[in-house]
């Protein structure tokens, strides 16, 4: 009998859940909210996977403050060009990669160019190019080697910016003079020496920094306009085949020497940063806005849900306790709640975060600790009115203890409020976190929508709508989804509570 009744009980539970879902289904607002939430959950879970860029750390993944790639289909934005990365394996991880480069020398026999896994100290990736010069097999005059890569620029408009890089290490140079340079050749075969260096003694790996940046004054100074020049604009003046090469010229070679000169080359690269990037463009520092948005969704949901959960739990416990014990406990806890309610929330939040430190956990903690009062009052008044209800008296008359009454009778009857309050506390927490980040007190290591809006204001980027719209709209939509669910839950659950 008990097994069958247990099943019956379970069936009743299923029926109740189905009944609730049936009611919920009728509620258009609720369904809309749930749909939106579902979308955001998916976005937070899978959105970050669609982009490898780190929202905070990865700078210059595209041109700075460039609109999304699809903008080029809009009128007036046809000039937009994407990023171009002609070189696949910057780290020279594979010996086959060498074949992607054209190698020319004037003394075929003296140079050997191999893939090396040695000498790797500062360059990135698992390997490098090793250029060996056998001094005995050469004439003392200039010997040079050119490693070049040809790529085509198919856009009539120039990229926003280009950068080239190089890491190298020279060994056995003593007495030999070595000049290395990075050169970009445009479609009209005009050569631009972007960077060069003379090496007269053994050099350790150069630092892994961009040797050439079209934004840098050093590069600009190559051109007649000097600081006012835009190298990207000057060089990429039309469609056609462009060439990027690295050249090492050896001079005054001591042919007597038995020492082989080694030149390790790594991270040889040119990046063309277009005037558009990805799904949502880039921010002030060329970071991926889409990636920020996706990670922001994670932050917002995490902060919103966890905060709502904590503050509702506190509110529930305080409310139950105050309502049930009454007397002094009630008086004290409610006066305390009153007091917290008159203290302006946002300034208090700001100062507490400023004191405690800007970490996401602190933010969650502080918002929860300042957000329970309203709900505890609601719970308390509900408990007080429940206490007056006859079925509580009936339970007491039956001999039920306070704990029994609280768990069996009070709690199930305030759960409706709990769900509603959870739903309405989430957007409040999301907005609070966003406000905090917006005011510059967010967690700097984590991207959030509020942080994005903060950056927009900080860098006066209000005109960049592609950057302004997404975070605000997401905050609004996520908040709306919870507000709508809260409204409909209230409509469904709480009339039941009141109805007799």
């Amino acid at each position: 009998m008990t097994i069958s009744t247990r099943r019956k009980r379970f069936n009743r539970l299923i029926k109740r859940a189905k009944g609730f879902w049936g009611d919920y289904k009728q509620n258009k607002k609720g369904l809309f909210g749930l749909g939106l939430l579902f979308f955001f959950v998916l976005f937070a879970l899978f959105g970050p996977m669609l982009s490898d860029n780190h929202p905070v750390m990865d700078w210059d993944v595209g041109g700075r403050r460039v609109p999304p790639a699809w903008f080029k289909y809009l009128p007036g934005f046809q000039y937009l060009v994407p990023n171009l990365d002609p070189i696949d394996d910057v780290g020279f991880g594979d010996s086959d990669e060498l074949s992607a480069w054209d190698i020319e020398t004037n003394f075929e026999d003296s140079f050997t160019v191999t893939h090396s896994t040695e000498g790797y100290e500062r360059g990135s990736g698992p390997g490098s190019i090793l250029i060996s010069l056998d001094s005995e097999a050469i004439e003392p005059s200039a010997a040079n080697i050119k490693i070049s890569k040809t790529f085509s620029w198919d856009y009539s408009n120039p990229p926003k910016r280009f950068r080239t890089n190089l890491n190298f290490k020279a060994e056995g140079v003593e007495g030999t003079s070595l000049n290395i340079r990075l050169v970009l050749v445009d479609a009209k075969r005009v050569e631009y020496v972007l960077w060069q260096r003379d090496i007269i003694s053994d050099t350790i790996w150069s630092y892994p920094e961009y040797k050439v940046d079209s934004y840098s004054i050093k590069v600009k100074m190559i051109f007649p306009d000097g600081v006012f020049a835009d190298p990207a604009h000057i060089i990429f003046n039309g469609t056609g085949e462009y060439e990027f090469y690295f050249m090492a010229s050896f001079d005054n070679i001591d042919t007597e020497s038995t020492v082989t000169t080694h030149l390790y080359v790594d991270d040889l690269n040119i990046e063309l940063r277009g005037t558009s990037y990805g799904l949502l463009g880039t921010d002030q520092w060329g970071r991926d806005v889409y990636s920020q948005l996706a990670h922001g969704a994670k932050t917002s949901l995490f902060v919103g849900l966890l905060t709502a959960f904590i503050s509702v739990s506190i509110g529930l416990i305080v409310g139950l306790f105050a309502g049930f014990s009454g007397g002094l406990v009630d008086e004290v806890s409610m006066r305390f709640a009153d007091m917290l309610l008159v203290i302006p929330f946002l300034p208090l939040l700001l100062i507490l975060i400023a004191i405690l430190g800007q970490s996401v956990l602190n933010i969650i903690l502080v918002i929860s600790l300042l957000g329970w009062m309203g709900f505890s009052r609601v719970v308390r008044s509900q408990v007080l009115s429940l206490k007056e209800r006859t079925f509580i008296e009936a339970a007491r008359a039956a001999g039920g203890s306070t704990i029994h009454i609280t768990i069996k009778h009070i709690l199930p009857n305030v759960m409706g409020l709990v769900y509603v309050s959870l739903a309405t506390n989430v957007p409040a927490a999301i907005t609070a976190e966003a406000s905090l980040s917006f005011l510059g007190l967010g967690d700097p290591s984590i991207m959030s929508w509020g942080q994005m809006l903060h950056d927009i204001v900080y860098y006066s980027a209000i005109k960049e709508l592609y950057w302004v719209i997404p975070p605000g709209l997401c905050i609004a939509l996520l908040a709306v989804s919870f507000v709508m669910m809260g409204f409909s839950l209230d409509e469904i659950l709480n009339p039941r509570l009141r109805r007799r």
């Binding site: 607002k29 006066r335 009153d338 007091m339 309610l341 008159v342 203290i343 302006p344 929330f345 946002l346 300034p347 208090l348 700001l350 100062i351 507490l352 400023a354 004191i355 957007p427 907005t431 966003a434 406000s435 917006f438 005011l439 510059g440 007190l441 509020g450 809006l453 927009i456 204001v457 209000i462 005109k463 709508l465 302004v468 975070p471 605000g472 905050i475 609004a476 908040a479 709306v480 507000v483 709508m484 409204f487």
Partner: protein, 322 residues
């Protein structure tokens, strides 16, 4: 109990609340890290005797309870000390900015109540209609939109796109000399932040108005009114509205803290020279005397508004339980 006693009771309670707020305010800033001396002297190397002198000046060497009592005394006499940042008296700086904040809050609250109420009543009157549906949806969104984002869009649309309104600030620089032009200039600057803060409140106000009214419409006395021959308009605007008014009045008080939050954000976005912006910049400089004073002012505003609403409530609800 008489109304007089009720008012006395509420006033006493407000004083107690204010006292609590003051105490909390004291405790928080005692907890705060960073010695004021370090903050003031950041970048400058002070001689030990100068540090000593400053400590004495700020009374930081006295026992806590003495500091507390002095804090109470000075706060209640509107003496908030000097800003760490500008080294100006905080009281004076606050008095310069408070009117701006009150203006912003007052104007937006006023319009939010007027429009929220009118549209809310009308939506309840036309419940189920297209008008109702659109108003409710729009309100839901304006209720959920982040204030600062709304502010940004306002600046974009009103400031950049149409170029009709200033992007920031409270007054043109230099301000016009003619007093009437000054008022116009202020209003011109006020428009966008005011609209933002208005939208921030309007939605919630409308939704609440509508739902309390709909709730009131289910009462028995509404049937009585209809039976008496009162036309639907009269049922709604006279019988239901008078009853729905009561929870709304209470709600004004409850909205004040939220409104302050909104004001801080709006002022920051629009560089509106009010207490919100003042708070924000004080946080940037960890300017404790300013923060402490601003806290006190905000709590005071909230408590006074609550008190006023309580008293108004006492007058308008014949059933109030004193």
């Amino acid at each position: 109990m008489s109304l007089k006693r009720y008012i006395l009771k509420r006033t006493l309670y407000s004083i107690v609340l204010l006292f609590f707020a003051l105490t909390l305010n004291f405790i928080i800033f005692r907890m705060a890290p960073g010695n004021p001396i370090q903050i003031v002297a950041s970048g400058v190397r002070l001689k030990p005797e100068m540090v000593e002198r400053l400590i004495e000046l700020w009374g930081l060497n006295e026992p806590l309870h003495v500091q507390y009592i002095r804090y109470l005394k000075s706060t209640l006499t509107w003496d908030f000390g000097y800003s760490y940042n500008s080294l100006e008296p905080v009281g004076r700086e606050i008095m310069e900015r408070l009117p701006n904040t009150l203006l912003l809050m007052g104007v937006s609250l006023f319009f939010a109540i007027v429009f929220g109420t009118v549209f809310g009543v009308y939506a309840a009157y036309k419940r189920g209609s297209l008008f109702d549906l659109t108003t409710v949806t729009v309100s839901l969104f304006s209720y959920a939109l982040p204030t600062f984002w709304m502010g940004l869009l306002m600046i974009y649309v009103g400031g950049y796109l149409f170029g009709m309104f200033p992007l920031a600030g409270t007054m043109s620089r230099p301000p016009p000399l003619d007093p009437i032009m000054r008022i116009f200039d202020l209003a011109w600057h006020l428009f966008l932040p005011g609209l933002t803060l208005f939208l921030f409140q309007y939605g919630g106000w409308l939704l609440m108005m509508r739902s309390t009214l709909l709730e009131a419409l289910h009462e028995d006395y509404i049937t009585t009114a209809r039976a008496k021959g009162v036309a639907e308009r009269g049922v709604l605007f006279k019988h239901a509205f008078r009853n729905a008014m009561l929870p709304l009045v209470t709600n004004i008080a409850l909205q004040i803290p939220g409104l302050l939050n909104g004001a801080i954000l709006t002022e920051t976005v629009f560089s509106w020279r009010g207490l919100g912006l003042y708070t924000w910049s004080a946080i940037q400089f960890t300017d404790y005397p300013v923060l402490q004073a601003v806290f006190y002012i905000f709590a005071l505003v909230t408590i006074v508004c609550n008190l006023i609403v309580d008293i108004v409530y006492g007058y308008i609800d014949p059933r109030i339980q004193y």
